[in-house]
């Protein structure tokens, strides 16, 4: 069981991710506001963050940079409806583990999450 944070400007998307991952036994914290999500990461234990790239005030890349600065070992999966080479390179350079394109398949999402968490476990980060 892992502490997972999901941030998307579309509320339904965060709700859906929460539903899917809770079914897998994880604790999911859903956010549509970047500042609240960042504050949560600073205050609470989080193993993995699932961030949309297009947000309301900031970009998912900027949020990832701040969160990685706070917790460098935190796992990260980036989601986007419009992938670009620039955002993908930036995300990976900032330490994102996966870069997925919406609409992502439920099974694919579950697999990606498990893979990132397993990799963290192997590295002794949990």
């Amino acid at each position: 069981m892992a502490e997972i944070l999901t941030l998307d400007d579309v509320l339904d998307a965060t709700v859906l991710i929460g539903k899917i991952l809770r079914k897998k036994g994880h604790v999911v914290h859903t956010f549509t506001d970047e500042d609240e999500a960042i504050a949560f990461v600073r205050q609470s234990p989080v193993d993995l963050v699932i961030l949309d790239i297009k947000l309301k005030k900031m970009s998912g890349i900027e949020v990832l940079a701040i969160m990685k600065e706070t917790k460098p070992d935190i796992g990260a999966i980036m989601l986007t409806g419009y992938p670009t080479v620039e955002t993908a390179r930036e995300a990976i350079s900032l330490g994102a583990d996966e870069y997925c394109v919406k609409p992502i398949d439920r099974t694919e999402l579950e697999e990606k999450v498990e893979k990132v968490l397993a990799a963290r476990l192997d590295q002794g980060l949990e």
Binding site: D8, D9, V10, D12, A13, V15, L16, I17, K19, I20, K23, D52, K54, L79, T80, G81, Y82, P83, T84, V85, A88, R89, I92, D97, E98, Y99, V101, K102, P103, I104, R106, L109, K115, A119
Partner: protein
């Protein structure tokens, strides 16, 4: 102790008339012999040598010397001698200053005992040579002193008034002979010098090779003046130092004896005045006495080398025998140096012009190479509309040789109408508007841009440059950019649409898939399946839209992926 004597013969006190007659006969004989001897030669040197040799015998003295007056230094230099050693002849002090002063005033001076003379240097020199008595008489020509004659004995001798009178009379004869000989020699020399100047002028004017001119000047100067050698030194215009340009007849060790520019003789020459030095071994105007003596140089004549009244160097003629340089010789050397200077100026000008010509040719070749290397067609036209230059690309484009094009009206060559021609716009003083010409069709279509620019010379139009540039690739690139811009706009729209649709689609599709697991009734599951299937079709559509933008993903190091177009 010297005795001043009257120039008039003093009558003998001998009472015997026979003795007087014998003496007079003997003196007449001597006089006749001397007169005959001096009239036999026109060479004054030969005259002097004959006199000194004959008089020792005729007047029964041990030695006789003749010294000539060097007007430049007012000193007496050796003309001829007989019966004394070279060591005695080369003494520094000829006689006491009293004796010389009296002789200069035209009075004979008789010294019975040289050991009693006041000047210690002369006394010592006379003692070493064993000289006892000395009779010194002036040699005059037209009442002007030209030298002195000295009769010397190694035993004390009393010269009688008659003997002194005879010697004075002989010295007058000798003065006439020497002067006539000198005049003849002067005339002879002038002829030689005139021929020399002509010869040198011809030689130096027949070449522009500056080194050859240098060598001709030094060689002919030495040969024409019967000298041992000659050096030519010129002032380096950049460093201001006097540098050896050429030499003749002197050794390398002499030439490398040291810096000469500070020697007084050179300083005088560089101020524009000639310098004649009879005895280089002692003259204070010379610094390297020893080296000159070793080289065998006795006398020197140095003259300035001038160009337009500016001294550019020094020519030094070196004689290996003691020599008084006559006015003719000095004038010859000065003239020769002037001729040489003029030739040097001409050769230097030629060198400068040649160098400039080479530079101009080099620049022309460089410019021609640049013009021919241009990828554009280039044509230069004069105000009469005739072609004066066409580059390689232009000639290739119209398929003509340069000789077929030069001088022809440009309107016969250019493929655009003159009324549209930028050249015509420039020639008419109008604003130049580039002209775009289209050639061929479809894939072989080409675009040429015609431009023209004026070249002014002091405000007047002297030439027009026409440049024809193939702008096909630029034209095509501009079209490609336009198409690319349109495509980019479409892709941007597709990406935005995909982005905005994918998030809600993800929420809707995922929620539907969760819901279908919870439904029990087959009809409901089937209906929700229809929704999921259609949502997936929308997802495929947005996927295609995303792929239009060129996005793909590929494996990166480890488990990561990178994305690329």
């Amino acid at each position: 102790m010297t005795t001043e004597l009257s120039t008039q013969p003093v009558m003998s006190r001998e009472s015997s008339a026979d003795s007087d007659l014998d003496r007079d006969r003997r003196f007449l004989g001597v006089y006749q012999k001397v007169s005959r001897l001096v009239s036999m030669s026109l060479d004054h040197q030969e005259v002097m040598e004959t006199i000194v040799r004959s008089l020792t015998e005729l007047l029964t003295v041990d030695a006789c010397t003749i010294r000539l007056l060097d007007h430049s230094t007012r000193s007496f230099v050796l003309g001829a001698a007989h019966g004394v050693s070279l060591n005695y002849l080369s003494r520094e002090v000829i006689d006491t200053e009293d004796t010389l002063t009296q002789v200069r005033s035209g009075t004979p001076v008789y010294s019975a005992n040289a050991a009693e003379e006041s000047c210690p240097q002369f006394r010592q020199a006379a003692a070493q040579e064993g000289i006892k008595s000395i009779l010194t008489v002036p040699i005059l020509y037209k009442e002007e002193l030209i030298g002195i004659m000295r009769l010397l004995t190694r035993k004390t001798r009393q010269f009688t008034d008659a003997e002194i009178g005879l010697v004075v009379g002989l010295s007058e004869q000798i003065g006439v002979a020497i002067s006539h000989g000198r005049m003849f020699k002067e005339m002879e020399d002038r002829l030689v010098f005139l021929n020399g100047i002509y010869e040198i002028s011809t030689l130096v004017n027949s070449t522009l090779d500056i080194d050859h001119i240098f060598n001709v000047v030094v060689e002919r100067a030495a040969v024409s003046l019967g000298a041992k050698g000659c050096t030519l030194r010129l002032i380096n215009s950049e460093s201001g130092l006097l540098e050896l340009a050429a030499s003749y007849g002197v050794s390398a060790s002499y030439l490398h004896r040291g810096e000469v520019s500070h020697e007084r003789n050179i300083q005088v020459v560089l101020n524009g005045e000639p310098v004649a030095i009879y005895d280089v071994r002692r003259d204070p105007r010379i610094e390297y006495h020893e080296q000159m003596t070793t080289e065998g140089i006795c006398s020197l004549l140095a003259v300035p080398v001038k160009v337009n009244d500016e001294v550019i160097g020094a020519l030094r003629i070196l004689s290996d025998r003691p020599r008084i340089f006559t006015d003719s010789a000095i004038r010859f050397a000065v003239t020769l140096a002037e001729v040489g200077g003029a030739a040097i100026r001409k050769a230097r000008s030629y060198q400068k012009i040649t160098r400039l010509m080479r530079q101009v040719q080099g620049h022309e070749a460089f410019l021609a190479s640049i013009i021919d290397s241009l990828q554009h067609q280039l044509l230069v036209i004069d105000p009469n509309r005739r072609v004066v230059l066409a580059n390689r690309v232009y000639l290739e484009a119209i398929g003509k040789e340069e000789k077929e094009v030069l001088g022809r009206p440009y309107t016969e060559l250019d493929s655009i109408a003159p009324e549209d021609s930028p050249v015509e716009q420039v020639l008419q003083g109008r604003e130049m508007n580039p002209c775009l010409q289209t050639l061929g069709k479809d894939e072989s279509q080409r675009w040429l841009e015609w431009t023209a620019f004026p070249i002014y010379d002091e405000g007047d139009l002297s030439y027009v440059i026409e440049i024809v540039r193939d702008v096909t690739s630029e034209h095509l690139l501009a079209e490609e950019r336009l198409q690319s811009g349109k495509l980019q706009a479409i892709l941007s729209l597709a990406g935005t649409v995909a982005h905005e649709v994918n998030s809600p689609l993800f929420a809707a599709l995922g929620t539907a898939e969760l819901l279908v697991e919870e439904l029990r009734l087959p009809e409901e599951r089937e209906e929700l399946g229809v929704i999921i299937r259609n949502l997936k079709q929308i997802g495929e559509l947005t996927g295609k839209m995303v792929s239009m933008t060129g996005f793909t993903d590929q494996k990166y190091v480890g488990e990561r992926k990178i994305l690329s177009f």
